[in-house]
């Protein structure tokens, strides 16, 4: 199960990739306008300034620079946000604007301008910019930015906040309107370009209506994927919530009815009987499914110990009370510790003659690590029964298995095992394993 149980908030957080992706994207840091130039520059491996100058110079060709820029803006995904995306320095922007105006003036002076084609380029650029604005409305990064810190406050539906936080909504609307106006102007302009207005009045009116329709169609065409994506997200979110709710209800039902019944069976069946064992095993399975914070027995100490205890319970028809404080990741030494603990439980189940065994494990923190956080210092595991016990001095030969599988195993992995027992007084196996590898300093 990868979900977090009833009431848990899904793991659907936006995780910035740890390593920079070598994909072409807009750069957030050090950008002047939208990060297109610097993004491409970084991808191609040229200085950002060169790329910017290239864009500005391309302005001379019927505004090709703006058109290209707008298209790239619309198409390229935003890169990972590194810190606060500081909108570029005003000065730099001013410089490139001046350069752009210069280029345009020069272009005008040089003459042989074809106003028609130039206008065409600008109109396309207009539409592209409008589309860019609208399309970026629902990009994941944009949503993240819109929701901002407010999303964490009302953590119920993070997706909603992107649309519904007050400032977010206003920005959203504003962008949509601006994008729409740009596209309308662009489409109407294009239409006017190809079908010049003229002639009598009625024709002008019809033309006007046609233009309006065209503008609407243009906006609709551009906005359709955005809207589609939004509704899709809403629907998915709703379905996920319904699923989560159903799961919670189901869990509550199972808890109240089935777990109770299983507990009752255990109370009334003789410990060790098949009915008892089945009820116990079933209860454990259900409980794990209902409550366990996701942790795999192959990854976490607590889960591994519980799994081992469950196996011993099933195999020997006893009850193992497992209590684990703290947790640790597994490695081969921890695996060995779990194996030794399992062996101790098996021994208790076989020889103690009591229906209940206690297992207690604790992960103790050690020194603060050099980096951040603390490193665990030692794992202790205690397996205890109140059974018949034995005299540890007298049974060494007979219990060769204990020596090898518990004491020997622990020592091989840098840990220790102690077996405390006396006839009639139960047995306790104490296992300790230092988590930080032994430096062989001081006493062994």
């Amino acid at each position: 199960m990868n979900d977090t149980g009833p009431g848990g908030y899904g793991p659907a957080r936006f995780d910035p990739p740890a390593v920079p992706v070598p994909r072409l994207h807009r750069r957030r840091e050090g950008r002047l306008v939208a990060g297109v130039a610097s993004g491409i520059a970084a991808h191609v491996g040229v200085p950002a300034v060169a790329m910017r100058v290239a864009f500005v110079v391309l302005l001379a060709f019927n505004g090709l620079g703006v058109l290209l820029y707008a298209v790239f803006w619309a198409v390229l995904p935003a890169g990972p946000e590194v810190g606060r995306a500081a909108r570029g320095r005003m000065l730099g922007l001013l410089a490139f604007s001046a350069l752009g105006i210069g280029v345009l003036i020069v272009r005008g002076l040089v003459g042989e301008a074809e106003p028609a084609t130039a206008a065409l380029g600008w109109l396309f650029a207009l539409i592209a910019v409008g589309a860019g604005i609208i399309w970026h409305l629902t990009r994941g990064d944009q949503r993240q930015r819109l929701s901002g810190p407010a999303a964490t406050v009302t953590s119920g539906q993070p997706w909603l906040n992107s649309v519904l936080t007050e400032t977010g909504r206003r920005a959203y609307l504003l962008r949509f309107v601006v994008g729409g106006v740009l596209i309308s102007v662009g489409t109407v302009g294009l239409a006017a370009f190809y079908a010049p207005v003229g002639g009598s009045r009625p024709v002008a009116v019809i033309n006007g209506m046609v233009f309006a329709l065209l503008a609407l169609a243009g906006v609709g065409l551009v906005a359709a994927p955005v809207l589609w994506r939004m509704f899709g997200a809403l629907r998915e979110e709703r379905e996920a919530r319904i699923r989560e709710q159903e799961r919670a209800e189901f869990a509550a039902m199972v808890h109240d009815q089935v777990l109770h019944t299983l507990a009752l069976i255990q109370r009334n069946a003789a410990p060790g009987s098949t009915a008892y064992r089945l009820a116990r095993s079933q209860e454990r399975t259900l409980r794990n499914w209902l409550y366990k914070p996701t942790g795999s027995p192959t990854e976490k100490l607590a889960a591994a110990l519980e799994q081992a205890a469950g196996e011993v319970e099933d195999a020997y028809a006893i009850t193992v009370e497992v209590v684990v404080v703290g947790d640790a990741d597994t490695d081969d030494r921890v695996v060995a510790l779990v194996a030794a603990a399992r062996e101790a439980m098996v021994n208790a189940a076989r020889h103690a003659g009591v229906p209940t065994v206690s297992l207690y494990a604790e992960v103790e923190s050690g020194e603060p690590a050099d980096g951040d956080g603390r490193v665990p210092g030692e794992i202790s595991v205690f397996v205890r029964d109140r059974g018949v016990g034995f005299d540890p001095a007298s049974v060494d030969a007979g219990r060769h298995g204990v020596r090898g599988s518990i004491v020997g195993r622990m020592e091989r992995h840098g840990g220790r095992a102690e077996i405390i027992s006396a006839p009639g007084d139960g047995t306790e196996v104490r296992l300790t394993l230092p988590l930080t590898p032994d430096r062989k300093e001081g006493s062994g």
Binding site: D256, H260, R267, E321, R384, R386
Partner: protein, 237 residues
């Protein structure tokens, strides 16, 4: 019944499962006739009398307030707010001077529920799979004003207080466990009975009880941030 001394303890059962109530009632009765259950001095054993039971929160609150039993066995999970609602409403109606004591009894091992009920005022927590002898012993202990910690509860408490060793401590009296209390809790978690803990640490049983009661008080009174956050962090239901 000659072996009991003093008036029997008046016990009230709150559980929405009729079968479970019937079972506990029968077991406690059997426990009483069977005598002390082995390890206690028969002269000290007080009888246990189940004086009433309830299946819903309002019914429980009304009857408990009317009867004022010595000990209420409280199911954690019930409709309408569960054991916690019962506890809070009874406290509200009877005031702080009430001698009614609560022992949480649950099929659930969810840390949040258990810690929540203890913080609301229950004197202890045992699982429903506890043997009837142990249950009777726990009832007697709670009636005397002591705390009852199952191994699992001891583990939860150790975990909760150890979760963030570098967390800011507002009130050292309440926000930290002493080394001795930690030792006692560890032994409880390892399955030791009070008597065995006393022997292991070379202290009297009474001292063990004092330590456990102090831990209970800290658990209830501390405003330590993690105690309320802790269960949620573990993402348990």
């Amino acid at each position: 019944m000659t072996e009991t001394s003093g008036p029997p303890l008046r016990v009230f059962l709150v559980d929405d499962h009729a079968m479970f109530r019937a079972g506990v009632r029968a077991e406690l009765a059997a426990q009483l006739t069977a005598g002390s259950g082995g390890n206690s001095d028969p002269a000290e054993v007080v009888g246990i009398d189940v004086v009433g039971e309830a299946a819903t929160v309002p019914e429980a609150v009304q009857k408990i307030v009317a009867m004022q039993p010595d000990v209420v066995l409280l199911d954690v999970h019930m409709p309408d707010g569960g054991g916690r609602a019962v506890l809070e409403q009874v406290r509200q109606q009877l005031g702080t001077g009430s001698t009614v004591r609560f022992l949480a009894l649950s099929v659930s091992d969810a840390a949040e529920d258990v810690i929540g009920l203890i913080r609301a005022g229950a004197r202890g927590y045992v699982t429903k799979s506890i043997s009837s002898a142990e249950l009777a012993a726990a009832i007697r202990r709670v009636a005397e004003g002591d705390a009852v910690f199952s191994p699992r509860l001891a583990g939860f408490v150790l975990d909760a207080f150890a979760a963030r060793p570098d967390a800011p401590v507002v009130d050292p009296e309440l926000d930290q466990l002493t080394n001795r209390e930690r030792e006692v809790l560890r032994l409880l978690a390892r399955g030791y009975a009070y008597k065995e803990i006393a022997r292991e640490l070379y202290i009297s049983i009474k001292t063990v009880e004092t330590h456990v009661s102090n831990v209970l008080r800290k658990l209830q009174m501390s405003n330590r941030y993690e105690l309320s956050r802790w269960a949620a962090d573990r993402r348990l239901v």
